[in-house]
Amino acid sequence: MDKFRMMFQFLQSNQESFMNGICGIMALASAQMYSVFEFSCPCMPEYNYTYGMALLVVPPIWFFLLGFVLNNNVSVLAEEWKRPTGRRRKDPSILRYMFCSITQRSLIAPAVWVCVTLMDGKSFLCAFSVNLDIDRFGNHSLITGMSEAEKLKLLARIPCKDLFEHQEIRVAATRYIKCISQACGWMVLLMMTFTAFLIRAIRPCFTQAAFLKTKYWSHYIDIERKMFDETCKEHAKSFAKVCIHQYFESISGEMGHLHRHHSGKDESEEEEEKKSDEDKLLGIRVQDDMNKVLWNWHTCKPALALRKDQTDGENNGKMNGGANGAASGFVNGHAHDVAKKEWAVYYSKI
């Protein structure tokens, strides 16, 4: 049972936990980036709003796209979407499920950035300081006699500590805008949590059985892809092994150990070791032969087609592809004879 649990954890870890981990790391990276980033408001009426809003909006978009890039499931989704129907029909609900889960994970880091930016308040202060009604903070004497443009210039300097002389007004205005910014931040967080709550907690009311089905098949697609890659790798390894073997033999001219067999079951270990060393030579024992092997490997690589008589071994019985039925051939009396290639077989399906 423990082994099962470990295996299950390993399998799960390849799919969801890994993506959750990436998601968490990106959220932390987003918060860290904000704290490291040096916010410097331009303090000019024409650029304040653009700078403030850009800093609120552009990095989330960047994190969202990065989330898509880092998510392996995007290519699985694209492949499943684009493939011809063939013998397996396409289920749009699976595509929707995969897209939703990818999107949900990619939205977390942008949400963290937006919340942290709003709670900190600097970008709101930069963007909206020109819209302040400065009378509210007392000291009307400050702006009497100023033209509109001058007033705007003065207000635009509020976010910059060093440029605005009247500290108490600056502090009061900063506090006011930061309040509004934090209120917006909390509202955004509340809305997102409420939406997530609705989706997660209320969803079972609607489509539970269909949801289980789409979840299983979308995991299956991912696992199948991995299995296919694994099988291809194994196959390539075996292909290469046999191909190289055959290549060596074709150079050495010997049929080597492929057709050698031992007559007795009892052999000493030493003999076996000696024989296996011999086997590893693959029939190449002379310097010239080895040079030929190495030269031809570059100038005349072998064809990508394994010889059937090697891989078949000594089995020449031709049967139908079906598993039932009976066929017969002949077997020679001697089990140990190399040259004979046939034997008779009865087989029955049990």
């Binding site: 011809p84 997530a196 031992h262 394994l306 089995n315 077989v345």
Partner: protein, 330 residues
């Protein structure tokens, strides 16, 4: 390290322990959130109360929703509540038990936030500094030209210039903080008293036997759900493996059946060759492989592994020319 592992294992041992663990983590997150949040009182008469009450109420609502979301019991409860009856009767007591357990756990983090807020006092000061009677304290700054309300509204802001060299602000803050802490401790006392009363009087209202049953069956539902998910994952892996192997074998050109060697033909081939053959699944040429790879995209195989899953086991009988049986699996 060993102790940590033991603790983790204990928490993972049953579903209730996991929920408790998650609940405690959420409470810690709530405290951390409070300490890292930069509380910024507006110090304006119209907005103080609004801001403070907002900060005291909205985060607990968020934490409550989060508590419900991360709790496994939510999903199990919804499933059990909404499922059709089918072959298994429904027990409403289990649903009620799960609901109350989920609610209790989800309420912990919001309560922690509210208590920490009250015991710290900043928010109370921001909300209620204007309700304090300034005549109780000496040193009200009356040379600024601002009205009393405005001055009182500025009390939460330490760095404001009108309060330099004045102990008025500190006195008012301390006074309001007292009230805040008193309220906080009272709420804590009330909650603990309620909890203790509930625990003590529960046996009067509820049959312990029934309680044990509901607790068992709600834990069972959780374990069953986990095992179902595990089995699905393992099954998908098997299914995928067989589907892929079947796909490879369909690409075989020849129809030669590769039979296992009879056992008396010892060592006529190296073992590794048998393994390699098996792994090749009959695909031995470049064109075959190319066709295989193209078809994997263009024409995926159908989701049916009956043929390979239920391959008949072959029983082989070997005879020599005279018909004498040399060896038989039968």
């Amino acid at each position: 390290m060993e102790r940590l592992k033991l603790v983790l294992q204990y928490f993972q041992s049953n579903s209730e322990s996991i929920s408790n663990g998650v609940c405690i983590i959420l409470a810690l997150v709530s405290v951390k959130l409070y300490t890292s949040f930069d509380f910024n009182c507006p110090c304006l008469p119209q907005y103080n109360k609004l801001y403070s009450l907002g900060v005291m109420i909205v985060p607990p609502i968020i934490l409550f929703f989060l508590g419900v979301l991360v709790n496994r019991h939510t999903g199990i409860m919804m499933d059990e509540w909404l499922r059709p009856i089918g072959n298994r009767s429904k027990n409403p007591a289990v649903v009620k038990y799960l609901f109350s357990a989920m609610l209790q756990r989800a309420l912990l983090a919001p309560m922690v936030w509210i208590l920490v807020t009250l015991l710290d006092g900043k928010i109370f000061i921001c909300a209620f500094s204007m309700s304090v009677d300034p005549t109780l304290f000496s040193g009200l700054p009356n040379n600024t030209g601002l009205d009393v309300m405005r001055i009182m509204a500025k009390v939460p802001c330490k760095e404001d210039v009108i309060f330099t060299n004045s102990s008025f602000r500190k006195a008012v803050s301390r006074y309001v903080r007292c009230y805040s802490q008193a309220v906080g401790w009272s709420i804590l006392l009330l909650l603990i008293a309620l909890g203790a009363m509930g625990r003590l009087t529960k046996p009067c209202f509820e049959d312990h036997g029934t309680f044990l049953q509901t607790r068992y069956w709600s834990n069972y539902l959780d374990v069953e759900q986990k095992l179902f998910d595990e089995t699905c994952v393992l099954h998908a892996r098997d299914f995928a493996r067989k589907c892929v192997v079947q796909f490879f074998e369909n690409m075989r050109e020849d129809t030669i059946l590769h039979l296992p060697h009879p056992s008396f033909f010892t060592n006529c081939k190296e073992e590794w060759e048998d393994e390699e053959e098996e792994r090749l699944h009959g695909v031995t040429k470049e064109e075959q492989m190319n066709q295989l790879l193209t078809e994997w995209f263009d024409c995926k195989p159908e989701l049916d592994v009956t043929r390979i899953a239920h391959r008949p086991t072959m029983c082989v009988t070997w005879e020599d020319r005279e018909g004498r049986t040399l060896y038989s699996d039968v």
